[in-house]
């Protein structure tokens, strides 16, 4: 079971119209080499799920600027002018989800929950088309799970079994994306031998990882 592969060998996994989750927060913790791959392949009509659309020249933002995205589900798009432009021109659909709700939806997808109830968004536009549920006389929104065909994550240190360790704030959406995606590819800043990451320090278990790509290759 050798999970460490060349990035080019992954091409057969991708096709137009897929739903792909990509880790990162304004590009911090985003697997740029894997974004490069999607741009090289120029696959289209993607549904992209991530915290934000980053910047025009960074992370998820590059896919949007390159017109590869049909729909994006994110919490923030203000740092990428192309997202707003494509949305206003009707060329791309944008679904905005509050950040805490978005990560819970991804978690629900990965953790097998049918949904979660949150007060966030009550009395706002976020309510639209959503079921409201009363619990102990308090009103909540039912927020539904999100899943993806492929999850692209970035790991600071990854062992050959796929166990991932994230440094600093690169963790953000990555661990939940690894749970919510049918196939998971991790871009590793460094690859170490299995056992080099202490079992307590593993942040995403290798059992969730299908492929490892070296970020510096």
């Amino acid at each position: 079971m050798n999970k460490v592969v060349k990035v080019d060998s992954l091409k057969s996994l991708f096709k137009d119209g897929m739903t792909i989750m990509i880790g990162g927060f304004l590009g911090c913790g985003t697997p740029e080499k894997l974004v490069d791959l999607l741009i090289d392949m120029n696959i289209k009509e993607l549904t992209i799920i991530g915290n934000d659309t980053s910047f025009v020249d960074k992370g998820i933002g590059r896919l949007i600027a390159n017109n590869q995205v049909k729909k994006v589900i994110a919490s923030h798009i203000g740092t990428n002018s192309e997202t707003g432009r494509l949305m206003n021109e009707g060329k791309m659909e944008v679904e905005l989800s509050p950040q805490g709700t978005l990560i819970e939806r991804i978690r629900a997808g990965g953790f097998g929950l049918g949904g979660v109830l949150t007060e966030t968004g009550i009395g706002t536009l976020v309510e639209e088309n959503k079921q409201k549920i009363n619990v102990n006389k308090k009103e909540y929104l039912l927020e539904l799970p999100l899943k993806a065909d492929i999850g692209l994550i970035k790991g600071s240190v990854v062992d050959k079994f796929g166990n991932v360790y994230y440094k600093g704030t690169t963790k953000n959406f990555n661990p939940m994306i690894a749970m919510a995606s049918d196939k998971v590819i991790v871009e590793a800043e460094s690859v170490v031998n299995t056992g080099d990451i202490k079992q307590e320090s593993v942040m995403t278990p290798g059992v969730l990882i299908d492929y490892i790509v070296k970020g510096d290759e």
Binding site: F25, T124, S156
Partner: protein, 219 residues
């Protein structure tokens, strides 16, 4: 008229007084960030950044930069010894679960019922809500810190015209002109900038201000 830079200083300095020892605090991007500069040395505040840490330190430049440590605005920061990193679900668990004592954030509009609007100007600007909706619903105390008006037009209204970030969540509004508390009866002016009169502040405020019996000067 107070210039923008001075106004922001006044606001940040005043907001700092709302924080007390041992609290966990989230400061929004922009003006609220400046609050850090006015916290007394003998008070220990832990700052949370919604992208995944508590114990956030200062902004870092040049050789001090660790590209793996950023704040929610994407700037490079440091983390203190007592800090911790975590994923976004834990971060918003702290926020939504009521573990954050105070959140300080800006507003496009805020009204006398404590409604807040700060994430969208339909047809014009759609940055998205980011973590703001969760923060104002979850934090124990919500402080709006903002310049009193936008190009001379009131931002403190009887009712927000822009789409809400959340309903009835704001506890306190701090501007360069004064400090207003949201109560069931409406907005109570508790402190006022000594360079302005009660009439003058009412003039640039759409909502009717009730004047506290103990009205003080801002400091």
């Amino acid at each position: 008229m107070i210039d923008s830079k001075k106004a922001k200083e006044i606001i940040a300095k005043r907001v700092a007084k709302e924080l007390s020892d041992g609290q966990l605090v989230n400061l929004g991007i922009g003006l609220p960030t400046k609050v850090v500069n006015y916290i007394p040395d003998d008070i220990n505040i832990t700052f949370q950044s919604e992208n995944g840490m508590v114990g956030m330190g200062k902004l870092v430049r040049d050789e001090g930069v660790d590209e793996d440590i950023t704040n929610a605005g994407g700037q490079f920061v440091s983390i203190l010894n007592e800090g911790a990193f975590f994923d976004s679900s834990m971060s918003f668990g702290l926020i939504r679960g009521g573990h954050v004592d105070v959140t300080v954030l800006g507003a496009l509009q805020v009204d006398e019922k404590g409604n807040l609007a700060n994430w969208i100007i339909p047809g014009k600007l759609v940055p998205g809500m980011g973590g703001a909706m969760d923060l104002v619903v979850g934090a124990k105390k919500v402080v709006v810190a903002m310049i009193h008006t936008a190009k001379g037009k009131p931002k403190i209204l009887k009712e927000c015209k822009l789409p809400f970030t959340a309903k009835g969540v704001v506890d306190l509004i701090v501007t360069e002109y004064g400090v207003m508390e949201v109560t069931k009866e409406g907005l109570v002016l508790k402190e006022i900038n000594k360079d302005i009169t009660v009439e003058e502040i009412q003039e640039v405020t759409d909502a009717k201000l009730m004047i506290s019996k103990n009205l003080k000067y801002m400091d």
